[in-house]
Symmetry: C2
Amino acid sequence: MRESKRKRLEAKGWRVGGTAEFLNLSPEEAAYVELKINLALKLREWRTRRQLTQGDLARLVKSSQSRVAKMEAGDPSVSLDLLVRTLLALGASSREIARTIAPPRRATAA
Amino acid sequence: MRESKRKRLEAKGWRVGGTAEFLNLSPEEAAYVELKINLALKLREWRTRRQLTQGDLARLVKSSQSRVAKMEAGDPSVSLDLLVRTLLALGASSREIARTIAPPRRATAA
DNA sequence: ATACTATATGTCATTATAGACATATCGTCA
DNA sequence: TGACGATATGTCTATAATGACATATAGTAT
C-alpha cells in the first residue's frame, strides 16, 4: 500500500471500540483502516460462528492458516480484496458486508 | 487475483443493470465483481459531480490518468483497496461506500 | 511436567497490482 | 478538415500482496 511503515504501526496498537484516530492519520486513512478492521472482526465472527478453525477456512478459500490469522488480525499486508472475497466465500452477502463497513442508520441491532 | 483470464473477459462485456451472471461465475465471484463494478460506477459519478477530469483525480490521489480510467472501467487489474481509497479521497464516507456496495432496504432513493 | 490443537508471527519466492508512459479513440469546436 | 481536451487501452518496471512454510505462543488436556 502507500506507506507500510505506518500501517505496520497502526495495526499493532488497535483497540476494539472506536478504532484508529489516535495516530496521525488523515481522515480518509483512518476511515480506510477502520473499514478493514471492521471486516476483520466480522470475519472472525463468521468463522467461529460456523465452527471452523483458521486451517479449515484456509482450505475453504485456498489460502493458508497464517494468512487467515493475519486477516483476522487486521494485518496491513492483507488486502480488502482478500477480506471481502473470504467473507463472500463464508456465505456473507453484499448487504452484510455493507452493514459491516457502515451500519445503516437506526439499525435493528443484533 | 484468482484467474485473470476470466476477469479479463468479465470486465469486457458488462452491462449496467443486473450485471454479471451471464458468465460461469460462482455466486461469490459474481458478488465480488458486482461489488467492484458498483464502486467503479460510483467513482465516476463522484468525479464528474465534482467536475474533475481523470487527470485531476489522478493528481489528487497520486495515481495516473490511465489508472483512473481503469478504475472507472472496472478493469480487473484494479483492486478494491484502490477503489475504496480513491472514493474516500474524493470525500465519500464509509456509509456512502456501504450504500454503494449494497443499498439498504427500502432506501429513500435519490 | 508432556502432548496436542488452535492461533500468532516472521520470512520467502511467486504472483498481482501499482504508477508511468505511449498511444489510440472519441467529442467538439474552429 | 485539423487541432485540442478528455478518456481508453496496452505495456513496462517497481512495489505490494499472496500462499507456503517454519516456528512461536497460547490453551487444554492427561
